[in-house]
């Protein structure tokens, strides 16, 4: 198993495109995380100008709520699309360079090829999760009063939620790349679906049934996004009357995992039956 992962890393680590996209991802991630509080507070002061009693300023970077707040910002579509595109490039390049054929010819089984790719998805998700965790930890330490450290790690389960978000989303991307085999086409269709088609579907499904059923929450990408819901900004959200998620719901974790399972099942079937 480690052997396959080593091979995978040899393929990737000196690939310039990989590092460029990875770098872009962290740039957007950092911007998202660092500007989150500023953006929310500019909204708050906007609203306040119309209200008789002003809302309090949002505080995003304090323990323990920072875990939920920042994993939410790290998992918005526009940020997660970067590692997804990376995954699409890596799998479609195997088809473009015909290295997938050469790997099989040289004695890799088709199953081993898929296992090596899936292992990579897990490692990539883990890496991103660890980095995000470290960023949150540092931000939290520098923004929290020493007195309230006791429950600093109370909401760390959202970090696990973020890992599942990343892994399932990357599985979706892998599915697109593997089935379409063409780099440009897969990136275009995946981006189109994630950023445009599904939000439109979401809107269309939500509007008429707002209070009757919640079918729109089962849309694939939406189900991933919903694992970690809106930032929990105490006081502010309470005053606005939002219902706040205070822990991960097992069902919301299960739905994207089921989607990813089905897509990987299709990928495995195709891999075993289609000519390369």
């Amino acid at each position: 198993m480690i052997r396959l992962l080593k091979i995978e890393f040899k393929k990737i680590l000196t690939y310039k495109t990989f590092w460029i996209i990875f770098g872009l991802y962290f740039l957007f991630l950092a911007l998202g995380i660092l500007l989150a509080e500023v953006m929310i507070n500019s909204m708050v002061s906007n609203i306040n100008s119309h209200l008789p009693i002003p809302l309090p300023r949002a505080v995003l970077y304090t323990f323990p709520n920072i875990w939920q707040n920042m994993t939410f910002f790290a998992s918005i579509r526009y940020v997660m699309i970067f590692p997804a595109i990376l995954v699409i490039i890596l799998i479609t390049q195997e088809f473009a360079n015909k290295t997938i054929r050469q790997n099989i010819i040289n004695g890799m089984s088709r199953k081993e090829f898929l296992v090596s790719k899936f292992q990579f998805l897990v490692v990539l998700s883990l890496t991103v999760t660890v980095i995000v965790t470290m960023v949150i930890f540092i931000l939290g330490i520098t923004h929290t009063d020493l007195g309230s450290f006791s429950d600093a790690f109370r909401h760390m389960d959202f970090v696990f939620g973020f890992f599942i978000q990343m892994l399932t989303f990357l599985c979706f991307a892998f599915f697109f790349g593997f089935m379409l085999r063409n780099t440009g086409l897969s990136i275009a269709l995946f981006t189109l679906y994630t950023l445009i088609i599904e939000p439109i579907l979401y809107f269309l499904l939500k509007a008429p049934f707002m209070f009757e059923n919640k079918i729109y929450t089962y849309l694939p990408v939406n189900s991933v996004i919903r694992i970690v819901e809106y930032p929990s900004i105490p006081k502010l959200t309470g005053m606005l009357g939002f219902q706040i998620q205070d822990s991960l719901s097992p069902l919301s974790l299960l739905i994207p995992v089921i989607y990813a399972g089905i897509l990987l099942g299709i990928v495995t079937y195709v891999m075993n039956h289609k000519d390369l």
């Binding site: 040899k10 040289n106 004695g107």
Partner: protein, 298 residues
């Protein structure tokens, strides 16, 4: 001799086109086996099936007397159509990946790169390589870890004459080490120069197979003319090595058993009182011969 590859009734259809039909081939250890046929005759499809790239519709094949597996593929070095490598990696890194997949160490990489004279370029990116260099790297990759069998699919396609010569030299060197070679080619001349055994394919069917020297035996003829063609014919048919003759364009085309030099015929005619007005050696071109073989079997 041990059988390396046996193909039993392998078939593959793409829509309306029967790419390979009920193919039967047996290749023994140490043979340099040519798969000869025009483009689209099913050579690549056949090799693709034996390497698990293409799923056959029916039929089976065995490597080393065993059902196909990834382990058997590790004992085979293959160059299929185009050289497939990661463009941004150096030959060294690309070969490391191959060695890692096959489960070999990296010690052999220097040797195979030297064998194809690419040692000095071992650190450059693959994308900077010329086509000939890419093809040589593909052969180096196939040579890694001394495979028992080497599969080469059109290895000289698209190369310049110098490149072709280099590749053929390498193949002959590999063959001399006792490695079984399976070579797919549409070039009769190539198969004849390199191979010991051959199977001729057309439209997915095997026309015939056997030793190259027998299957592709070429008959040369000598073209003659004299003032009295009738007498010339009668005389020449008494030559001890005479085989057959035909008439066309006012010349006699005479076939002999074994080698007969034109000078010898001239002397023979002269000794029998005939003065030749025309004497020429005609070799049937190899390509012509190949086309005839294909036509005869349509």
């Amino acid at each position: 001799m041990e059988t390396v590859l046996s193909i039993n009734g392998l078939s593959k259809r793409y829509g309306k086109i029967q790419a390979v039909k009920q193919l039967e081939i047996e290749i023994k250890r140490g043979e340099v086996f040519g798969l000869l046929g025009p483009n689209g005759s099913g050579k690549s499809t056949t090799l693709g099936m034996t390497l698990n790239l293409i799923t056959p519709d029916s039929g089976t094949f065995e490597w080393f007397g065993q059902p196909p597996s990834k382990e058997s593929r590790k004992r085979i070095g293959s160059v299929i159509e185009t050289p497939n490598f990661f463009p941004y990696l150096s030959p060294e890194k690309n070969l490391e990946i191959v060695a890692d997949i096959k489960g070999y160490g990296h010690d052999d990489i220097t040797r195979v790169l030297e064998m194809v004279t690419l040692s000095d370029r071992r650190k450059s990116k693959f994308s900077t390589f010329s086509f000939g260099m890419r093809q040589r790297l593909a052969i180096a990759s196939a040579m890694l870890g001394n495979p028992e069998v080497m599969i080469l699919d059109e290895p000289t396609n698209g190369l310049d004459p110098q490149g072709i010569a280099q590749i053929r030299e390498i193949i002959l060197k590999v063959a001399s080490e006792g490695i079984t070679i399976i070579l797919a080619s549409h070039l009769l001349d190539e198969v004849q120069k390199i191979c010991s055994h051959v199977a001729v394919l057309n439209k997915g069917k095997k026309l015939f197979s056997g030793e190259v020297s027998k299957v592709l035996a070429i008959s040369d003829c000598i073209e003659l003319a004299a003032a009295d063609q009738q007498l010339l014919g009668e005389t020449i048919s008494r030559h001890p090595q005479f085989k057959s003759m035909t008439h066309s364009n006012g010349y006699l085309q005479v076939y002999f058993h074994g080698d007969v030099a034109p000078g010898e015929i001239n002397e023979f005619a002269h000794n029998n009182g005939i003065v030749l007005s025309h004497l020429a050696e005609r070799k049937r071109s190899l390509e012509q011969h190949f086309l005839n073989l294909l036509q005869e079997n349509q």
